[in-house]
Symmetry: C2
Subunit: 252 residues, 2 copies
DNA sequence: TAGCTATGTGTCTTTTGAACACTATCAAAT
DNA sequence: ATTTGATAGTGTTCAAAAGACACATAGCTA
């Protein structure tokens, strides 16, 4: 999405921010992209946060989220969905370490800020998180290793995961996390990771194939030390058709 | 919920508002509570809006929504759920009539305002909408009659309905729209209205009863010109039990 | 007492979900 | 050359849920 300012002077709105929970998948685990405040006085976890920024008065919320994503990852056209707004009056000022961080990055660190949270899905290998105006460093953390985050970001992450779980049962958005060519086992593993439970292999394969949204590439894995798996790609045409008709449930 | 300000001076935040889509049901149709700007120069529909207000810097978003609901309806403890944030830079300034209205109610009518939308469910007969600081008049409009609203409120209403549809399949929140004592036919009609489609009577009754969340009051309608219906009430205890176990789907 | 209106009830068929175990194919190690 | 380890791939059966469908009942009214 192209963001074009309508005013020459773009002003940050001191009261509204966006935060983006960026999910990745390395074919065995789910990850989230976190930035580091660089504040060395505190434990590592509490210095980590979900990337975000104040919005400009000229851009809409989705645009702001895409701007943050682009600055951080260089990627455009990413799957993006709003989670909702988080607005406790003291959501960003509870911890001493949070306040210090704010003082270092915000013109008005005491302002009351409500944030609009998003989650997005990216193909992990496609990109390298960069340092940016709002992040000294950025990197992937396995979801299972996240215990504590700055501000109310842990709560935001939980909401993101919840929404992702709900959504993936209704729409095959998981393809955004996989490489172009993938195996059914990888897709299977992805669903298990997101839903946090085991799924029967045969039942999974049957259901997915019955949706007719996969194209068999008639190509196999090479160099793997076991029976090579058939490769598939996502069939966009059939998926779009199916979306229009409306389908309710993957049924997991 | 009791809202208690932590500061003596409560200040409205000029950049963030809440808007509440309030649904009601009169046993035959779904309604939404709309307020009237009182601006007489334009068509009726475009003067109507969903009630809302700027937030105070001391309250959180849910509190702000409850405050709006209380001011308008006098009711507390209402079912309330966030829909999400709406924040196009020009969402409130597109139409001339919108701008006039804003000038009459806002200290900074030109400010860029993002809004956090909520929907809530109320028992229609329980209450009378009142005029308030932000509404010259307020009243129920059948969903089917709403064509156009001020600002981006039509879009907000559509999102509210969508979310309600999704939610009512997963949780029996519909009880918030019905009187304490209700018949299965009324509940059936409510589901049909919300989902916008016919549901088989016998299948509906079977599914609902199998959930064990209804208590048969062993009491019948009186004075109706047809076979009187059994009355039920919502069994909160069983519902809470069921919620904890987690149930996925009414299956409509 | 006839007519109108909405209530209330059961069965059968089809679809969907869930449980379950063995053979096949490759690479690497011996 | 053979064995080993790792993952891929494949069907059937049983149980549960969804969907389709028609008629007798109870109260009011005219």
């Amino acid at each position: 999405m192209n963001f074009k300012s309508k005013n020459t002077k773009k002003e940050l709105n001191p009261n509204v921010s966006v935060d983006c929970v960026i999910f990745g998948f390395d074919l065995s685990q789910l990850y989230v992209l976190l930035i580091d405040s660089g504040n060395t006085e505190d434990y590592k976890q509490s210095r980590m946060a979900v990337p975000g920024d104040l919005i400009y008065d000229t851009e809409n919320l989705d645009e702001a989220a895409r701007r943050v994503l682009k600055e951080l990852t260089g990627i455009e056209n990413i799957y993006l969905e709003q989670i909702g707004a988080f607005g406790d009056p003291d959501r960003i000022g509870k911890k001493e370490s949070d306040r210090k961080w704010l003082e270092s990055i915000r013109a008005q660190p005491e302002a009351r800020v409500i944030t609009v949270a998003y989650y997005s899905l990216v193909k992990m290998p496609n990109f390298n998180p960069k340092a940016s105006s709002f992040a000294k460093s950025a990197g992937w953390t396995a979801i299972s290793e996240v215990n504590e985050l700055a501000f109310d970001h842990y709560e935001i992450l939980e909401s993101a995961l919840e929404q992702l779980k709900r959504k993936i049962k209704i729409q095959p958005i998981g393809f955004n996390l996989l490489p172009e060519k993938f195996t059914l086992s990888q897709l299977h593993k992805l669903y298990e990771c997101i839903l946090g439970k085991d799924l029967d292999k045969r039942n999974f394969r049957r259901k997915i194939l019955n949706l007719n949204i996969l194209t068999d590439l008639e190509e196999k894995q090479i160099g793997v030390p076991h029976k090579p798996s058939q490769l598939f790609k996502f069939n966009e045409e059939n998926y779009n058709k199916l979306s229009l008709e409306g389908f309710d449930n993957f049924g997991f």
